[in-house]
């Protein structure tokens, strides 16, 4: 078969290669998903010609044409099998897509506020704590709810306050405006003694769509993507790794945030006003407000501006970034891991026990 392919292939003249390339480009650009297979096929056929053009005269086109699909098949199956054996329970990815991630979060338990973690079961119990936050408080990178810092904290506090109740109001990517809305919706009903606000630098952003865009490969436009993204572990990994390999933005996120959200900017004032609004709302329920900053600062300047603002309002601030540095959920997800969540819970426990008096009968 290889011999026949060799003979056929060698009969294609130089312009045959040129035509194949033009066909390829045409199909890939205007063809869309319908013509992509033809484009790929044309590209595949032209590979030996490319190799010949590079100066390798001793090649056998037929051998190359048969070995490419054979290698790709073995490669993909090896990748899929290795990942399925290595991560039978899935693994978190920061971009959070694909079956490997779904497998990781397959048994998620959601509380009545639409978050993960404890909820208030008994309105009469004491004390009650509201914890608001984003993906960190939601527990991205943590498989079981019991390992998220909110649950660990409840466990720790139970020894000192047997009736303690915690309400977690968190969601991935939740920002200040939504925090205000959530607090308005639930705090009146819960009547908390402490409100914890887990802050992250992204909270100050007016619109995450304004961030500098990174070059990414439009995988979703490939004709085979829909099937693989539903079923393949290995495809998720490839997507993630190639996305990581894409050139970085000319302006880093740190520079962007320091420039666009400097203290004199309109953007900062907007966030400041929103935060003041959140704070006065929280203050109307309890004097005990804790700001939790769980990660090391992305921008020390911006974080310091926020810390100054929070301190000026009398809020207590808990930093855990140094203690949890490098404790990532996985190689592909930089959210805190179980150990880091335990440390965060410890820090919060110390702060809460400092400010909350024991009930009279304890």
């Amino acid at each position: 078969m290889i011999a026949i392919l060799n003979q056929t292939y060698n009969r294609i003249p130089g312009w045959g290669f040129a035509i194949l390339s033009i066909v390829l480009c045409g199909f890939m650009i205007v063809g869309g998903q319908l013509f992509q297979p033809l484009g790929f096929f044309a590209f595949y056929l032209s590979i030996p010609k490319f190799v010949q053009l590079l100066g390798f005269k001793d090649i056998q086109p037929g051998k190359i044409l048969t070995s490419i699909p054979a290698f790709l098949l073995i490669f993909f199956l090896t990748g899929e099998l290795t990942l399925r054996l290595w991560y039978p329970n899935g693994v978190p990815f920061s971009n959070g897509v694909g079956p490997i991630v779904k497998q990781f979060y397959r048994n998620i338990v959601v509380n009545k506020y639409g978050s993960r973690g404890p909820e208030v079961l008994d309105d009469t119990s004491h004390p009650k704590i509201i914890i608001q936050g984003d993906s960190i408080t939601w527990g991205q990178g943590i498989k079981l709810e019991k390992d998220i810092y909110t649950s660990v904290l409840k466990h720790l506090l139970t020894e000192k306050y047997p009736d303690v109740q915690i309400a977690v109001l968190a969601k991935k990517g939740r920002e200040i405006q939504e925090h205000i809305e959530q607090l308005s919706k639930w705090a009146g009903q819960i009547k908390p003694q402490v409100i914890v606000y887990q802050w992250h630098i992204t909270d100050i952003e007016k619109n995450i769509e304004d961030r500098p865009k990174k070059i990414s490969i439009p995988w979703n436009k490939l004709f085979f993507n829909w099937r693989l993204s539903e079923s393949s572990y290995f495809w998720s990994l490839l997507t993630y790794q190639i996305d990581t390999a894409m050139p970085k933005n000319k302006i880093s996120y740190k520079d962007y945030i320091e420039k666009e959200y400097a203290i004199e900017t309109e953007n900062w004032q907007l966030f400041r006003n929103k935060f003041l609004q959140w704070h006065s709302l929280a203050k109307s329920f309890t004097p005990h407000i804790i700001i939790l900053i769980p990660l090391l600062p992305t921008s020390e300047i911006v974080e310091q501006n926020f810390v100054d603002l929070a301190k000026s309002l009398g809020a207590r601030i808990v930093f855990t970034g140094k203690a949890t540095a490098g404790m990532n959920a996985s190689k592909y997800d930089r959210h805190p891991n179980i150990e880091a969540h335990r440390i965060i819970a410890d820090h919060l426990f110390n702060e809460i026990t400092n400010i909350l008096p024991l009930k009279d009968n304890e």
Binding site: I74, F75, Q241
Partner: protein, 470 residues
């Protein structure tokens, strides 16, 4: 631009395409430009240093070749070697010498405030200065005829795959490849790609992964239990091999795809039965350099036992110091010097009482591997005090109760076993290209498995190679 970074692979792909599209002479010029771009990517100021050293060595070597008068030749040789060594000494050892001197003065009660300067260490300086020295010496000894083409010589010094961490090439090996027409060979190209892949596997899957544990034990500053030190020393032995030989594999692989053949730098060093064999298998380009330009000129083994031992100790002392401006490298060099001396004393007895057999060979490999691991403990230690504390813990505190297990599971359960299988296979077949004889299915399976492990193990930021810091 590290070999294991995405930027490098873009750079490499561009160079490869450009080289394929051009003829040898233009290709050499392009490769030289690319090598300077690669080096300048670290720090533009380094380029001046590289250029200066290249110009001085090139012209002085030409003069050495032209002059017949041996005194003038010697003077020129001295100037050239002194220039290379002065540059190396200033950039690499100035602060080390000053600090050591201050410490020495303080010990004898003299308070001297010697000036310490903020000097940036140019990457790869130890490698290319040694290459310039070997070139001048070879010209002086008439082992090499100096090239008339400055650009060829400049490429010999700056050729980017080997610029940062070797192998330390000899003019007689590399310059003819630069000057002559290169043949584009599919087999060489495929071999090159495999070496790049295998080098990346060693670096990313094994070296970087086990480094986390090693750094934790050696860098914590806390008193560690002996069992953890034992594990860390073993893992560092694996790490440094995979890190350095991984770099060399990549350097050789990249060169092969560009049509050049660099020297073999590692030949299964942990299968050595004694220190002599170890230095014939580990960092071969450095050990042969030290042998040819230091040990033999000192007299080698030609003037009796005591002089031989002295020469061995001097060579290993300087070999240790070459690695870096710190005392632990010196101790490590001296440790290997002592092993070599001891081996010379012991080998006549061992040959008489322990005739060669499989059991003796396996036992020798195992025993010497333990000694090598201890040597790496000295090399990795952050102070002499740490060497003493760790050595003491290894003897007195081997309780399993305090064990901390490494977390890099992929490296330990998949990476290291695969490496061991491939190395054992290579050892017994005595063929570095053993896999090429496998049926296509198994070859593809091997390539796939290597790539898959690299993809799974890749983190966000590439880690530096240990030897590129020397």
């Amino acid at each position: 631009m590290l070999f294991n970074s995405y930027e490098f692979f873009v750079f490499y792909a561009v160079i490869l395409l450009v080289c394929f599209a051009t003829k040898d002479k233009i290709q050499n010029f392009l490769l030289l430009s690319a090598s300077y771009f690669f080096y300048g990517f670290w720090d533009l100021r380094f380029l001046l240093l590289l250029l200066l050293l290249t110009v001085i060595t090139y012209y002085l070597s030409m003069l050495i070749f032209k002059f017949e008068n041996s005194l003038i030749k010697k003077v020129l040789l001295s100037v050239s070697v002194a220039t290379s060594l002065s540059i190396l000494a200033f950039f690499k050892y100035f602060n080390f010498f000053v600090e050591s001197l201050s410490l020495l003065f303080a010990k004898v009660g003299i308070k001297a405030e010697l000036p310490v300067m903020e000097i940036i260490l140019p990457v790869g300086i130890s490698f290319y200065t040694f290459q310039t020295i070997s070139y001048t010496m070879d010209v002086y000894r008439k082992k090499t005829i100096p090239t008339n083409n400055f650009f060829d010589f400049a490429l010999f010094i700056a050729f980017f795959p080997k610029l940062l961490a070797g192998p330390i090439e000899r003019a007689s090996h590399l310059i003819p490849q630069i000057s002559c027409q290169r043949v584009r060979d599919t087999d060489q190209f495929k071999r090159g790609l495999y070496l790049v892949l295998f080098g990346l596997f060693k670096k990313i899957v094994i070296a970087d992964a086990v480094a986390v544990y090693v750094n934790m034990i050696f860098g914590s500053g806390e008193i560690q239990s002996g069992i953890n030190i034992l594990i860390a020393s073993f893992l560092f032995t694996i790490q440094i091999y995979c890190d350095f030989s991984g770099y060399t594999d990549m350097a050789r692989g990249i060169s092969k795809t560009l049509g050049f053949d660099l020297k073999l730098n590692f030949n299964l060093p942990y299968f050595s039965k004694n220190p002599k064999e170890f230095w014939q298998r580990w960092h071969i380009s450095l050990s042969t350099w030290l042998r040819d330009y230091l040990y033999i000129p000192l007299g080698g083994n030609r003037f009796g036992r005591l002089i031989t031992y002295r020469n061995l100790m001097i060579t290993m002392f300087l070999g240790g110091l070459w690695h870096g401006a710190a005392w632990n490298y010196v101790w490590w060099g001296l440790y290997h010097g002592i092993l070599l001396v001891f081996h010379r004393l012991w080998s006549p007895l061992s040959n008489r009482f322990f005739p060669k057999s499989l059991v003796i060979n396996v036992t020798s490999v195992f025993c010497f591997f333990i000694l090598t691991c201890y040597g790496w403990l000295i090399f990795r230690a952050e102070s002499f005090n740490q060497i003493l504390i760790f050595s003491n813990a290894l003897i007195t505190d081997l309780s399993i109760a305090k064990v901390i297990l490494p977390t890099s599971k992929m490296a330990i359960l998949l990476g290291i076993p695969l490496l061991m299988i491939l190395d054992v296979y290579q050892y017994f077949t005595c063929n570095t290209r053993f896999y090429e004889k496998w049926p296509w299915f198994f070859r593809y399976l091997l390539y796939s498995f290597l790539i898959v492990q690299i993809l799974i193990s890749s983190g966000n930021a590439p880690e530096e190679f240990i030897y590129s810091q020397f």
